[in-house]
Symmetry: D2
Subunit: 289 residues, 4 copies
């Protein structure tokens, strides 16, 4: 009887997400969905994409039923070609650490969305290189660490950041208007796991002071870009972009103020995709299924 | 040898689209994609949707390979549950007749898009209850039929329209700002095959003079709705909607002028979906895969 | 010396906004701007609108200089025709009371925007007919009053609300997802001073459960409407509307979740217009200058 | 009596637009609107802008009444500071020559909009460096000149273009997907009078093959930019920009196809501003009143 109870606990009715990435070949969808069928799993949603240039196949499958994870993954591994990756994910809040500088709007938007259940994140901590946002984080009962860069070399500051972050073991770092450029050494600690919001419509206005650049160019639309961070400044895979019309009457400061809403929207939609396990990184691009 | 050549001619490498609609059951995707695999067909794109309320399953599968249509459909029919429908479509221009009144913008947009290859339609004829657009149609070498409603009962006018249209055997009728209400008897001749553009963001401003209604209400956004026509005025399944911000300075006429661009955009996007065989009618809604 | 100091205090360099509304006549702009010029005031921005149907003239003038308010208004009153109204406003945060029920997203967005200086409001209090949002308000050090409607007649509940609100003497009431219908008697206490966010693209889906209505109709775009409240349900002058594309895969609950972002955007943009003194009420419409 | 009749003929009731650009000074709006008032002209719409950096003042005034152009301009010239420019424009179709290469969508959109009265242009001729679009222009009874660049130096080709264009004395040249880079010498013939549509969201993807660049960068939004042409490639004052969301499934060709709609929308909105005399060029920017 006890064994049976354990069995029920282990194998209760669940919803999970199967992510598959592998070289394309004929019959892949049939093979994978057949294995799910043999495991008596129901597919409630299935989306796939084959990149026509590289022939890489991506599939996201929402499954519900009783999972025997070990045998399911073993069956998949037998069926899938060499060079495949697959994962079977539980729907649970992603554990994150948020890095900030002084601006409150992105952090505030995330806090409110987590507060009201719109965004499924487990915010372990907020880390800032300035003290301003401590109060805001603490109002939501989230630990705030002030790790100043003053008087530190870039390397020493990043070491201090790492020592602060690592005990929390975050799945993702969110740069919610963190106004420091990260070195390749730091980025390498979190490959494709750092999400940044850049306050321009990339690749326009790479680098510093994009609103000033946009103002000087006289653009009629401004934007924001949420992307994974890699070694090149503002060059990582783009997850989401949002834009906003402006006109001649906007100063650089007006653009900055108006831009806050698209910054938080782009970041929050990117985080939504990530929390729903919909984002594959494909070279310097994302595939969102 | 000759037989073999004929065989090759019949069964040359092709791209086709398989549309499936049936009650959902576990393993459906596996069964259908397995049959495709056994026929050595490659799936280049697969999208599906299960309506959670009704449990109806819809799938659109882009296939390429050598098709043996008869055995493929027979295999599918054996596998699919009762109440299923499936079709295996060639990628070819849909044959349409366009109905118009006096306004040129929607007809003009379709003509230019067909002219430059953006829209895959075979426009068999344009039929108008006024003579104004004859010149425009004829400039693109498309027959124009002027079927006036003057002095005719609604029934007699619709009879005249039917007699003009039916010889062309269109797959779809496009109402490109055709300003007449069609009776259920007429609509029944083309079930889910009449596409209308309504100049409001339905269900706001049903009926006559929607821009005047929008002006009087003081809305800040106007819109247009492309939908299939059924027996209820402005009540058929919506295919696409587009909107446009306006402000207090817009008169009803200004809204009408500005609205032309969203009308033609909504209609043209709806037609794009239809030409790509992406639209399923599900009750009074559309599922677009 | 003392007198001079007083003089400097009264007449220091300031920015103010002159709002004028009156029947149109030839030379109005010249007359008003002349008076400003004679007062040595600089016009940094001037926008005006004449309603062509009613012939009503509206003008908003941003002035900077040294203001002698009494003589300036007297000069204007001599120049303007009968039936005119004018006001000379200081740029200062509007005092508001926010009414809520259970949903946090609109309140949270306003709190964050006031916190980071994006929105110039002085939030005197938050009043809820449920207790859920007390914590959120209090985290931002704003008094929360729980005024339950349980066991009270509508009239008695509104009396209780009024008694709670009036001591704060708010310029505006903000209904940030306050899910109670207000009676004409209550609304009459705050004419054109109650701002509501309605969770549909009015006039579509007036009344209860608009997302359910939108889901059942199968629309491809959902929206939200910020408007002044008058006696008719969902019928007051519209200030701002925002929309969001949806598709067949959205349940009513998905629409509700996605709709939160357009609700808060529409409300926050409407509040921005109000805080900048840009909104004139013209019959059942708004003119936004 | 005859003189009086002539006077009435000359000075009949008209609508005109007064454009003023000059260094800002206190009382400018009052002075200009006073002069209009003394001329018994009614202002139906007035918009102005002062650039805070340069202190340049721009005003657009819609006037109706009986115009004595000579004395009105003389009065204005006396009042305006040194370095002013002013013009009093009739509302009439702008005379243009359209330059094209092979793509039909922008030319087609303009032709349809002029045909149905949406766009007030007098298209004198279409000039192409390829023959493909001759038929389309001729269907709308507009002369088409095929001026091939084959076998010609850039200078010789531009000479041939100029000889073709100049007899038409166009106010503006419209580059409706004209895929040749123009030299400074050619551009100098039409200062701020050449309007180009560039198929990217400038300043992203300057130069050749922007859709290929956008595809390689993996952007989630593509765009188009209508701008005046100056000596720097893709660097002139931006008039309008429009964007369109895309996703990972778009090839460069898909982006190009989808981009057609934003290209024609950006160009057509820019042309609308120009035809309504709403565009001031301010350095490398536009002020649109």
């Amino acid at each position: 009887m006890t064994g049976m109870i354990v069995e029920l606990e282990v194998n209760q009715m669940e919803q999970r997400i199967l992510l598959t990435a592998c070289p394309d070949s004929k019959g892949l969808i049939a093979q994978i969905t057949n294995i799910c069928y043999k495991h008596q799993l129901n597919i409630s949603r299935n989306t796939e994409y084959v990149d026509p240039v590289s022939g890489q196949f991506y599939m996201r499958t929402e499954l519900d039923g009783f999972f025997n994870e070990t045998t399911l993954l073993a069956d998949l591994d037998r069926a899938l070609p060499a060079g495949s990756s697959r994962s079977l994910l539980r729907r649970q809040a992603k554990r994150v650490v948020i890095l900030v500088t002084k601006e409150a709007h992105c952090l505030g938007d995330i806090l409110i969305k987590v507060y009201d259940g719109s965004l499924s994140l487990d915010i372990a901590a907020v880390v800032g290189n300035h003290p301003q946002l401590a109060t805001l984080a603490e109002r939501f009962a989230i630990p705030y660490h002030y790790v100043s860069h003053q008087g530190l070399s870039r390397k020493a500051h990043e070491q201090a950041l790492l020592q602060t972050i690592q005990p929390y073991q975050p799945e993702y770092l969110i740069l919610a208007k963190f106004m420091r450029i990260l070195t390749p050494a730091f980025v390498a600690e979190f490959p494709n796991r750092i999400i940044n919001i850049h306050h321009s419509f990339l690749p326009a206005f790479i680098g510093a002071r994009p609103y000033q650049q946009a103002f000087e160019r006289g653009v009629k639309i401004i934007g924001a870009t949420a992307h994974f961070v890699n070694n090149q400044l503002d060059e990582g895979p783009i997850i989401q972009q949002k834009v906003l019309p402006v006109d001649h009457s906007y100063s650089a400061e007006d653009m900055e103020r108006a831009g806050r809403d698209v910054e938080k929207a782009a970041l929050s939609e990117a985080l939504q995709f990530v929390t729903e396990d919909r984002v594959f990184v494909h070279g310097n691009k994302t595939v969102i299924l």
